[in-house]
Symmetry: C2
Subunit: 159 residues, 2 copies
């Protein structure tokens, strides 16, 4: 069975060698064996687990939590329920995060439209209340009515 050195793994996975050692130290790679000289050797199998770790990281799971998950794995089938519940919780987290970002996105799109129209007018004054830096409620209404008339928010702010 052929194996990979830490440097090869780093290259394949797009990580630094230092980051991998950091993960090992943090308890994410208890399954990685060493050769006679004390150097880490990664099997194909190990690589798949490593990829799972990166997928969890991408999903916003902290290293500490991934370490729990990995240790449950080492416990075998007894922890299947725990692992399921963990993923279920993180599915909910992700759904919430996505919702938050969607809201932020519509906010940013409104602001883009705001600045696009201000640029066309040459001044931000068209959106502000007289003698203030506060936005005129009419500006929000105008945008809302444009949205409701079927225009996509994505395109409304495009120059």
């Amino acid at each position: 069975m052929n194996t990979y050195s830490i440097g090869e793994v780093a290259r394949k996975m797009g990580l630094t060698v230092e980051a991998i050692r950091y993960y090992d130290h943090a308890g994410l790679l208890p399954f990685v064996k060493r050769d006679s000289g004390g150097r880490r050797r990664f099997t194909e199998d190990n690589m798949q687990l490593m990829q799972m770790i990166l997928d969890l990281k991408r999903a916003g799971v902290s290293i500490k939590e991934i370490a729990y998950f990995v240790s449950w794995r080492m416990d075998g089938d007894d922890s299947l329920g725990q692992r399921y519940d963990f993923l279920d919780q993180h599915e909910k987290n992700l759904e919430d995060q996505i919702q938050t970002l969607e809201k932020s996105l519509s906010y940013l799109r409104f602001k883009k439209w705001y600045y696009k129209t201000a640029l066309e007018a040459g001044t931000e004054q068209i959106h502000l209340m007289p003698d203030s830096t506060q936005v005129n409620p009419k500006t929000y209404k105008k945008y809302q009515s444009l949205i409701n008339s079927g225009k996509s928010a994505k395109s409304l702010g495009d120059k």
Copy 2:
């Protein structure tokens, strides 16, 4: 014109007083005036700007970048183009982030299904290659075919 103290703003915005002082220090609140005793007084107008700052934060914009944005605002209409470009860039960032999270979500949903079926079988072995902790390609195919047969990924992993 009635104004608000830092404590009132904190309560209204759901922040700590310390966080607000931190933002001020970081250059996010150059528009906030002080009373005779040196205490910050926030106007309605200031609150709206504050809300904008929180919206940008929620959109994943760093404090340093928000500070630039705020300083451009103070420059008036000359910076309208800069502000538009800034938002345009962040719209793209957000779109990418959402895409990444969507991918992570489908990954988590696959894993949930994986553990739900393993739980039903009482063991993870049903998904693994013989004598290995590597996942059997058949497992991926099975899931794919379930997805393709019209089942929603969201429900497939539900207990």
